[in-house]
Symmetry: C2
Subunit: 279 residues, 2 copies
């Protein structure tokens, strides 16, 4: 088979663009299609049933656009929805195609860098309540203790471009106070939006920790995955193309999206709304 497929990257909004940025830094040669469901972002406070439904619609859209592999670059969707989609949905509807998440790469990297085996996680409510990080760390090393803090306002703050407000720093400080007596040596930014707040998070932690940002590790992890799965890699085209889709209007996405991706992007409208539903 000729190389004619793309790598799909899906996020609820803009946050996943920082993941894509991290991926193309390591693997610039491949073709990528990004989908941001900005019309319905953020997902962090939605229930797992709704996140599953939205994520299925996104997966359908990206496979219809001829993706050979999809990265769910949204922790809220990587938590509950991903496992259900991998086990029950993809195997039946799209045999041979793969959907991966961002949660496991971040957890694996943190397990490597922690010395005292005490790891903190900040994430959305959906991710924290799903207990996905607990499950993954238990598989990696049951001795690791994790401390999770849901930060429900941080994704809306970033989606709405409020990150430089004074109140944002106060909110971050308030959330991070939770870790004061926890003695963690590593903190995972468990939501793709938080990368853009990284400096403020480091500044407002009550003590010094190593910060693991999924966008910094995802490129290497994907490189390893593709090297182990040549049956997928051999189909991905290598023209360095990037195509961006949003469910909201393209002008807003182009403006805010460039901030996350680090360069100007051109965006097309994706019609998921009332359209490609899977049921």
């Amino acid at each position: 088979m000729k190389r004619n497929k793309s790598i799909g990257v899906f996020d609820s909004g803009f946050g996943g663009l920082s993941i894509l940025k991290g991926i193309v830094k390591t693997l610039p040669e491949y073709d990528y299609i990004y989908l941001g469901d900005t019309a319905r972002a953020p997902y962090g406070a939605r229930t797992k049933e709704t996140i599953l439904e939205f994520t299925k619609q996104a997966v359908d859209f990206l496979f219809q656009k001829n993706c050979g592999l999809i990265i769910i670059a949204c922790n809220s969707a990587s938590s509950d929805a991903l496992r259900k989609i991998q086990r029950e949905y993809i195997t039946k509807k799209y045999p041979g195609l793969k959907v991966l998440g961002v949660l496991i790469p971040g957890a694996e990297e943190s397990a490597l860098v922690t010395k005292n085996k005490k790891i903190g996680v900040i994430a959305t409510e959906a991710t924290v309540f799903s207990k996905s990080f607990e499950r993954e760390f238990y598989k990696i090393d049951p001795k690791i203790k994790i401390y999770q803090r849901a930060c429900p306002l941080l994704a809306p703050i970033v989606e709405e471009g409020q990150e430089d407000k004074d109140s944002t720093e106060i909110i971050i400080k308030d959330y991070l106070e939770f870790f004061r007596n926890k003695d963690i040596d590593t903190l995972i930014l468990g939501c793709t939006h938080y990368g853009i707040l990284k400096e403020k998070i480091i500044k407002n932690m009550p003590y010094k920790v190593q910060v693991v940002c999924e966008s910094d590790v995802i490129g290497k992890k994907l490189e390893g995955y593709l090297a182990r799965h040549l049956e997928i890699e051999k189909n991905i085209s290598k023209n360095g193309k990037r195509v961006f889709f949003t469910t909201d209007t393209t002008t807003r996405f182009e403006k805010l999206g460039s901030k996350f991706f680090g360069k100007k992007i051109e965006v097309k409208k994706a019609n998921l709304l009332g359209g490609v539903a899977s049921k």
Copy 2:
């Protein structure tokens, strides 16, 4: 014709329940159907095209449930989408049926109570950017000067149940600082979510003002409307029924919704997602 129709109340999420509460206080005898699009709330940062699309889906759903009149209890949707829906959509697709908003009743009430004709508005970005309050006040009294402040984080704060956090008060204080030199004597809470923050808003205003909350005035306004439109009123059944629908899961809606409505509610799932789309 027999009285067999309901009054529909639509909001992006929970905020409209405070509007419904205000309506049933004045008009308890009628039957009501509430729809909260919690799976896609809040709407305040969405573009007008997306809000229009979502609102059309909601209107379709409520008319299919045999509503004779719909109140769009969401300022973001009442701003841009409402006029388009009234003019282009309802007249063609549902002749004889009516859709009303919450923005005009709030504006009219404020115009009545202001003495110095300087009125402040706090609302979502969608509402402020739509210039709907400017337009309405210009029609009511061109001498009224209005000062608008978008408060993009307040709706997410309320949707996520964060209203008693210390950081919430800091955020409110920060937003209201805008009015310090404006000399307004009246402040409209131009988003249905803000009613739940009313005490905190009064406390954190730099000086004393009259606060106009749409949920306090909507009941009387609707009473007047129905008295003037008996061709609609005569079809609305009077069994005191209340039916609640959500697009997200019902358990979360029952829990948070009761807070807004002031009493326990039972909720059904509305399938707008990928379903009743209007195009």
